[in-house]
């Protein structure tokens, strides 16, 4: 197991450099005139142009120049310096403010998925083909079928504006209550998937041979379900939720955008919209790390949950 984790960490280093390189290339290599892009519509004076060329090493041209700037960027990155956005703010500071908001939103979404999705999934799996099972099937298909870009504004309009049950937008320093509705919207998709997955897993395990064995041991039904069936059924569900947490941590562009939540996704979207190359690359680099680490954690967790899985 130790060797496996070590090997995975080494692979992560490669994956990290590979993805940052691609993102860096996609963001900057395609730009015609980065200085004009920076200035937007305004004219650029020769003095400004000279200063910026010097600052961003733009005198180095061609592929060599690109790698020169990339390695320069990576050098800073490895020292923990994410650089500055085009607006002059430190990207590290931006993330420091945005991340806690996104993490809180992610945890609310995950809690919603676990509390409602897994519980309802277990019940639906036990009572297969019941009214409860069929109604959850319809509801989850509905949720899975509606994209967030439709669901979020609908929830905002009805629950936030019309009936005023929740604050319609979150604002700069959102409270738990303000994040609750966006959290539910964000979590509804994970909820639906977690429910389907749990239901299928429980239904399958209830038919397993070891359940017959447990019954022939004369165990009470409750124990068979809670100890034997659930322990096996939740292995794929926990794995899914782990991956999902990694996804949620990297921010939700649409949900954060609709509810005006100053999280990671919100800032990333702003960076893309304003063609703020350094901001986009900075955020994505950190997201890559978050995603790689969360995936490793999930794989290790999988081996802990299922003794048949052994990593060499």
């Amino acid at each position: 197991m130790f060797r496996y984790i070590l090997r995975r960490l080494l692979q992560m280093v490669l994956a990290f450099f590979g993805t940052t390189l691609i993102v860096y290339a996609l963001t900057f290599a395609g730009q015609g005139d980065p200085i004009q892009a920076l200035a937007g519509e305004r004219p650029v004076t020769p003095a400004q142009r000279a200063y910026l060329t010097e600052k961003y090493n733009l005198d180095q041209t061609g592929v060599g120049g690109f790698f020169y700037r990339y390695f320069d960027y990576v050098k800073d990155l490895l020292q923990g310096n994410l650089g500055e956005s085009l607006t002059g703010r430190s990207i590290g500071d931006i993330l420091q403010q945005a991340w806690p908001v996104t993490v809180r939103l992610a945890l609310i979404a995950l809690a919603v998925a676990i509390i409602f999705g897994v519980t309802a999934g277990v019940l639906a799996g036990i009572r297969r083909a019941s009214i409860f099972d069929n109604s959850t099937l319809v509801l989850t298909l509905l949720v899975l079928g509606i994209p967030t870009i439709v669901l979020a504004p609908l929830a905002q309009y009805f629950l936030g504006v019309k009936w005023q049950l929740f604050p319609p937008t979150a604002g700069s320093d959102p409270t738990f209550y303000a994040l609750l509705l966006p959290g539910i919207v964000l979590g509804s998709l994970s909820l639906a998937t977690a429910l389907r997955l749990t239901r299928a897993s429980v239904a399958e395990n209830l038919r397993a041979d070891y359940v017959r064995t447990a019954r022939s041991k004369g165990l009470v039904k409750r124990r068979i379900v809670v100890v034997h069936v659930l322990r096996n059924s939740l292995i794929p569900v926990v794995t899914f939720l782990g991956v999902e947490l990694g996804n949620l941590m990297s921010g939700a562009i649409i949900t954060e955008g609709v509810f005006n939540i100053p999280g990671v996704g919100f800032n990333l979207f702003r960076g893309i919209r304003t063609e703020d190359g350094p901001l986009v690359v900075g955020i994505v680099s950190v997201l890559v790390v978050v995603y790689l680490v969360s995936n490793l954690v999930v794989d290790v967790l999988y081996a802990v949950l299922d003794p048949r899985i052994r990593y060499e």
Binding site: A208, D209, Y210, T213, S216, G218, N232, I235, P307, R308
Partner: protein, 343 residues
């Protein structure tokens, strides 16, 4: 002449340890009703071994699961009949009372120990669970007893292997774990449902020997379910042969092997490869087992039977008593037996 082998007037006192009377089980599916068990009657006395023999789909496992009360309902429903254990009909008992019987009075081991054991718990934990949950043992006591049980079924290094998971054992050792688990509460009856089918031939023999030894040592009664005639000979006292959810022949091992009195049993015995008649083509029973949703009229074996006559198509044969407690559900049982002797 038609006589029921187990007269309905048998008294509980003088009766058998376990007795099935005219059991009917059907599976209700979307495609229709499959009559899986059609009037099975057999009995088991303390300390004896009864082999239940038959092809897959003949209903032998379903009968066992009906005794245990672990049929999946739906689709399986016990339509009628009695399952008497120590004279009391288990089918009239509440689910809670039946649960008390499982494991403690009647225990069961299954064909494929890998899937029959829970993959995510150590074997010691699974053996101990029965003791903790059913006998109220403490965690430490259950663990100690689990090691003893693993020793009893001759798992080498039991104390060291108690924390291992099922997938870490070989097939034979896994089946031993199953047996240890079934023996945890000292059951009076052990039902072994094809315990060696998933194993290598050499390991099969070891497991059968172990079961026979344990049955003797612990003075249990055993129902051995199998489709393998070779497995039966050395272990069983009596044999009940099942076909299409019925017992077609019932005899002690010696007389059945010597002279089968049902064409189906005869066919089964003749389809065993023999060393002394090399070079001949192996005889088989022609045709396939019946579809249980459309069981043939009369004798269900008649489409495959070499002795078939018009009466076989028209009339369901009753159990014909042949003496020595032998019965055969064949219109021509006498002829078949005499044929077999002459051979």
């Amino acid at each position: 002449m038609t006589v029921n082998p187990t007269p309905a007037s048998a008294t509980p006192e003088g009766g058998h340890l376990l007795e099935l009377r005219d059991l009917h089980v059907e599976f209700r599916t979307n495609e229709g009703v499959a009559r899986v068990i059609n009037g099975v009657s057999y009995h088991l006395d303390a300390g004896e071994t009864l082999a239940v023999l038959g092809e897959s789909g003949s209903g032998k496992s379903v009968t066992a699961q009906a005794i245990m009360g672990i049929l999946d309902t739906p689709p399986a429903f016990v339509r009628s009949g009695q399952i008497l254990y120590k004279g009391e009909d288990l089918l009239t008992r509440s689910e809670e009372q039946r649960r008390q019987v499982r494991g403690k009075e009647i225990a069961m081991i299954f064909q494929d120990a890998l899937s029959a054991l829970n993959p995510v718990f150590p074997v010691g934990w699974q053996i101990g669970e029965t003791l903790r949950q059913r006998a109220g043992m403490s965690r430490a006591d259950a663990r100690r007893r689990a090691v003893e049980l693993m020793d009893l079924v001759k798992i080498p290094g039991a104390a060291k292997r108690i924390g291992d998971y099922p997938h870490q054992f070989s097939g034979g050792m896994r089946q031993r774990v199953m047996i240890a688990m079934a023996l945890a509460l000292d059951p009076k009856v052990l039902i072994a449902d094809e315990p060696t089918t998933a194993l290598d031939v050499t390991v099969q023999a070891q497991i059968m020997d172990l079961l026979a030894d344990l049955r003797r040592e612990l003075n249990m009664a055993m129902i051995l379910i199998t489709h393998d005639l070779g497995v039966v000979a050395g272990v069983a006292d009596r044999i009940a042969v099942m076909y299409a959810g019925r017992i077609v022949e019932h005899a002690d091992v010696r007389s059945l092997y010597k002279a089968p009195a049902h064409p189906y049993t005869k066919g089964l015995l003749e389809s065993i490869p023999r060393l002394d008649v090399r070079g001949q083509e192996l005889s088989t029973i022609k045709g396939l087992p019946p579809n249980l949703m459309r069981i043939p009229s009369g004798c269900p074996f008649h489409p495959r039977c070499p002795y078939v006559q018009q009466v076989c198509v028209d009339e369901v044969p009753h159990d014909l008593v042949l003496g020595d407690g032998r019965t055969s559900a064949c219109h021509f049982a006498q002829e078949v037996r005499d044929d077999s002797v002459a051979r």
